[in-house]
Every structure is written in structure tokens, then in C-alpha cells.
């Protein structure tokens, strides 16, 4: 039977005010079932206050072979980096 149910990607919000973060994936017959499985696997120890599940097949991912053309051109454009600013200590989550 293993592998007969579709895969779902699980995103958990650890606490109010922060973003949902990818936690892992589960197999489930449908969305409701995926939510319950995600709750059992990832939030039994108070890791989260909210869960999203997305069918893995609905995620459009970049191709690792395209890494050079997609990401490397950014490396030598120093003016795009906010390196010349000093962040106040009160600014979190940057």
C-alpha cells in the first residue's frame, strides 16, 4: 500500500507574527487527512499555531540544472545587497 496516497508539503507557523515555514511532507488521501497527519507528526510538542498543507504536485520548483542562469548572476552585483545599512537592535526577523 505504501506510496498509494499522494504527498503533501507541510508548512507550520511556529507562533503568531512569523511566517509559515516548510516542515516536511506527509502522505494522505486528501487535504483534511493531510492536516491531521501533519498535526500528529509535526505539532505534538507545541511547535505550531497554524498549519498549511499543499499537494506536492502543485508545487512548481526550479530545476537544479538551471542554477547557474537563475542564481549566479546575482552574486557579483554588490549594489543589490543591503550591506551598507546598520540595523537597529529592535528589528527582529530580518
Amino acid at each position: 500500500m505504501t506510496g498509494s496516497w499522494p504527498m503533501w508539503e507541510v508548512f507550520v507557523r511556529a507562533r503568531r507574527g512569523v511566517d509559515h515555514v516548510h516542515f516536511g511532507s506527509v502522505h494522505a488521501a486528501d487535504g483534511e487527512s493531510a492536516l491531521q497527519a501533519a498535526r500528529d507528526l509535526f505539532t505534538r510538542r507545541q511547535e505550531g499555531v497554524s498549519i498549511w498543507v499543499v499537494r506536492s504536485s502543485d508545487v512548481v520548483a526550479s530545476d537544479p540544472d538551471d542554477e547557474a542562469e537563475l542564481f549566479e548572476p546575482a552574486a557579483d552585483k554588490e549594489y543589490r545587497f543591503p550591506t551598507h545599512y546598520e540595523l537597529p537592535a529592535e528589528v527582529d526577523h530580518m
Binding site: 500500500m1 505504501t2 498509494s4 496516497w5 506527509v26 502522505h27 494522505a28 488521501a29 486528501d30 483534511e32 487527512s33 491531521q36 497527519a37 498535526r39 500528529d40 507528526l41 505534538r44
Partner: protein, 249 residues
């Protein structure tokens, strides 16, 4: 402070939770997917937690110095007061799920009503157990609908499971000898059975499954009358403790 009615009540509910937890333990590694193994294991652990609280309180009410382990490990099948539904074998996944659904519908209405108990210990336990049970019911009810309103084969198996377990449901949903506890407000609700019926009928309708016609009902579980399935279950549960009394690890 021994109150025999309250003691019996605590053992009934503790045994209900423990026996089902042990049955669910046997499902682990046999569920359709790893995720379902996890779900079943989590439900089982919640039930063990509830049983521990009920047994610990039973020990206090009994007043003979017995702890939770005494009630779990040192009583025979004839002393267990669980409804017969929860001792029934796991069968296929449909049987496991339908048994769980019938149980969860009862347990949720039971714990909901017990939040208003005049007994502070039970009311506090109910507040926690109600949330756990609410999730259990969401899981088992979801599966009943999914199986019933699923494929021809899943519907056939779900209906077979309902037909085979229906005869244990009168036993489950009707305890008739706790009038004293109702009067004192310790067990405030004597109508849990009626609400159980409403919940089950609604779910079966949504699942396109049939409520079985009246059949010969098996009763007596809450009074210590059991099917032949309980003794082997308890033997497995109790074997280690009885082979090594007082062992610690």
C-alpha cells in the same frame, strides 16, 4: 471516603480507555500508511493518559493504597468494566475505524457532559480529555465518510464493519445504574446515549452508509461480562508486569 458508585464509574471509564488503547497498539505497523500508524499511536497514547488519571483517582476513592498500575495490571478479565465494543478485534481497517468512530462519538459526548461534573477532579480531567477526544472523533468520523462515500470496495467493507459492530452499541451508549451519580451531579448527564445516536446517524448519512436494522444486542460489558476476546488482550498487556512484579526501568 470510599464511594462504590464513583469507584465503579471511574473503573468503567478507565477500562474503556485502556482496553481500546491496547487494541490500537496492535494496529501500529499494520495501518495503510505510516502516517496512519502515527495517528493510531497518538490516539492510543491519549487514551492511556486518560486511563492513568482515572485509575489514579480510582485508587484515591477506593482508599486501599492502590495505584494506577494495580488497576491496569492486577485485575482479571471478569473485573474489567469496559463496554464490549472496545475489546473487539481490529479486523480490517474499516472495522478498526468504525469501532473507533462508535467509541469516539460516545467518549466525546461523555467528556463534554463531564466538564460540568460536581466532582472537581473529574471536571478538570474532562476539560483536557474533551479536546483530545474531539480530535479523535474528527479523525475516525472523517475516515467513516471517506470509506463509505469512497469506492465500491471501501463502502462494502465499511458497511460490513458497521453491521458486525452494531450489536455492541446499545451496551456502549447506555449505562442505566448510575442514578445516584446523576442525582449528585458527579455524572451530570444521563442522555449521552441519545446524543451518541444523533452523531452516529448523521455521520452514516453523510457517508451514504445504512443504519442497521434492529438486531440482537450484546450487553453487560460495563458490568464485567465480556466476549472471549478480552482475556488474551489482557494477558498480553499484563504478562511482563506479572512475570516481574515490581520491576522498574
Amino acid at each position: 471516603m470510599t464511594d462504590p458508585c464513583l469507584l465503579t464509574h471511574l473503573l468503567r471509564q478507565g477500562d474503556r480507555a485502556l482496553v481500546l488503547a491496547q487494541r490500537l497498539g496492535q494496529v501500529i505497523t499494520h495501518a495503510p500508511e505510516l502516517e496512519e500508524d502515527m495517528a493510531v499511536a497518538n490516539i492510543s497514547l491519549d487514551l492511556i493518559g486518560q486511563a492513568r488519571h482515572l485509575y489514579t483517582y480510582a485508587g484515591e476513592v477506593e482508599g486501599l493504597g492502590h495505584d494506577e498500575n494495580h488497576f491496569a495490571y492486577w485485575r482479571g478479565a471478569e473485573e474489567f468494566l469496559n463496554p464490549q465494543l472496545v475489546e473487539q478485534p481490529n479486523g480490517d481497517f474499516a472495522v478498526t475505524i468504525v469501532r473507533q468512530f462508535f467509541h469516539d462519538a460516545y467518549a466525546l459526548h461523555y467528556w463534554e457532559s463531564m466538564e460540568a461534573s460536581s466532582d472537581a477532579t473529574l471536571a478538570a480531567l474532562a476539560a483536557r480529555a474533551r479536546k483530545e477526544t474531539s480530535f479523535h472523533l474528527r479523525h475516525s468520523r472523517g475516515w467513516v465518510v471517506r470509506l463509505g462515500d469512497g469506492t465500491v470496495e471501501s463502502r462494502r467493507r465499511a458497511q460490513l464493519a458497521i453491521d458486525s459492530l452494531w450489536r455492541f452499541t446499545t451496551d456502549l451508549a447506555s449505562i442505566t445504574d448510575e442514578t445516584d451519580l446523576h442525582d449528585s451531579g458527579v455524572v451530570p448527564d444521563s442522555e449521552v446515549g441519545g446524543r451518541w445516536s444523533d452523531t452516529v446517524v448523521a455521520a452514516l448519512a453523510e457517508a451514504t452508509l445504512d443504519v442497521p436494522a434492529d438486531t440482537d444486542m450484546v450487553t453487560g460489558g460495563w458490568h464485567g461480562h465480556h466476549s472471549a476476546h478480552l482475556s488474551p488482550l489482557l494477558e498480553e498487556l499484563q504478562a511482563l508486569t506479572r512475570a516481574h512484579p515490581g520491576a522498574q526501568w
